[in-house]
Symmetry: none
Amino acid sequence: MRVLLVEDNERLSALMRGGLARGGFTVDAFDRLEDAESAVDTVDYDLILLDLGLPDGDGMDWLKRFRRRSRDVPVLVVTARGGLTDRVAGLDTGADDYLVKPFEMDELLARCRAVLRRPGAALSTVLAAGNVTLDTTSRQVAVAGSQIDAPRRETDLLEVLLRRSGQVVPRTVLDERLYGFDDEVTPNALEAHVSRLRRRLSDAAADVSIHTVRGVGYLLRLSASP
Amino acid sequence: MRVLLVEDNERLSALMRGGLARGGFTVDAFDRLEDAESAVDTVDYDLILLDLGLPDGDGMDWLKRFRRRSRDVPVLVVTARGGLTDRVAGLDTGADDYLVKPFEMDELLARCRAVLRRPGAALSTVLAAGNVTLDTTSRQVAVAGSQIDAPRRETDLLEVLLRRSGQVVPRTVLDERLYGFDDEVTPNALEAHVSRLRRRLSDAAADVSIHTVRGVGYLLRLSASP
DNA sequence: GCGGCCCTGTCAGCAGGCCGTCAGGTCGGA
DNA sequence: TCCGACCTGACGGCCTGCTGACAGGGCCGC
């Protein structure tokens, strides 16, 4: 974990460097915003520790500017300004946490760890074949990156085919998946959906298509491309 | 945004519920870990506010167990235990932040907002898509820079859609975010709000619109522009 | 306290799209 | 060529979602 420390009090900076190093962090320390500025342009930090009262400017202003271009690096503000309004302003400007001097090294480390543990993006399962994708949670179908509208039954059908892409899926399986045991439905209903889905995929220039295996079922595979 | 509050002090709980509601959160409040336990099993909360000294167990133990199975819900610990070792232990157990009683409601809200900012999502307090912005601090909506009035429910709805702008947000998620356990509501209530918000956005000449995904939910996306 | 306004949930009517069915055509294998 | 399997365009019932109207309730100003 690489950390950028911006702190102009030399003794405190030394202390923090020591503590962070013992905590397993790699530290780059600077005492001016200008140096910090060029550092963030060249190195991809995991975490930034920022003092507010610095010789060449206010850390809060810098943070505001920084947040405008780089959104995802956690920033922990370390400062003597302990007032409520300062803390609220700091948090709302884009600080992920706020630590008021004086503090114990253990607490600094704990807060660093906490900030780094922040949740990542929620994972969604995406099925894909060729340039066709289906997000199983949002039920969105996309071809070559652009979304297309598909009604529910066709989406369900596509899902089953995608899950066994390249293999023949028997009619019976498709019927079972699309319709509960209760719904009795003409065999033709499935064929109708296949037909409509084929049309939709080819209209969207998909590079996979649905092949018929007579007497058995269907399979999804890459279209022959010239 | 749906919040689980676990706090056994009745007066404090009422205060926090009020403050959070004014801050645009939907709150489920319980005074025992047992109830919290079953709540987290059924609802997908955006944030958990946890008191430590509870009648039926220690919040810290519960948090430890909770973290073992669910890693990605932010937890903000609210407690009277202000000692350093307590704070460090709390953060290392899996709390994302630590707030010591007594505290101001403004600070609580600011910390909630900070914790909810996920890496990759918007890091400022202002959510935006197209020319529509929502300041989560003041709960003000603006289109192309000029503010428009939107009632609370519509603002909440817009917030959820903005946080997942471009992605489909399932109906169930929207229902969960907008309404707590107690509020039982016709599915049509959501549709009514969507309708009203659509009207409001288009009246204000917003360049994003709410798109319906039949059988699934809604998504916010840039309107087709000529 | 009280009147009025706005918010918000409910209802009902309506529109549009989905989906199962049918019928007629096409294709493949024997 | 014949037959069975499959394709596809047309159609209508039905269901989902949209929206205007309305009523209850809370909040604010007088």
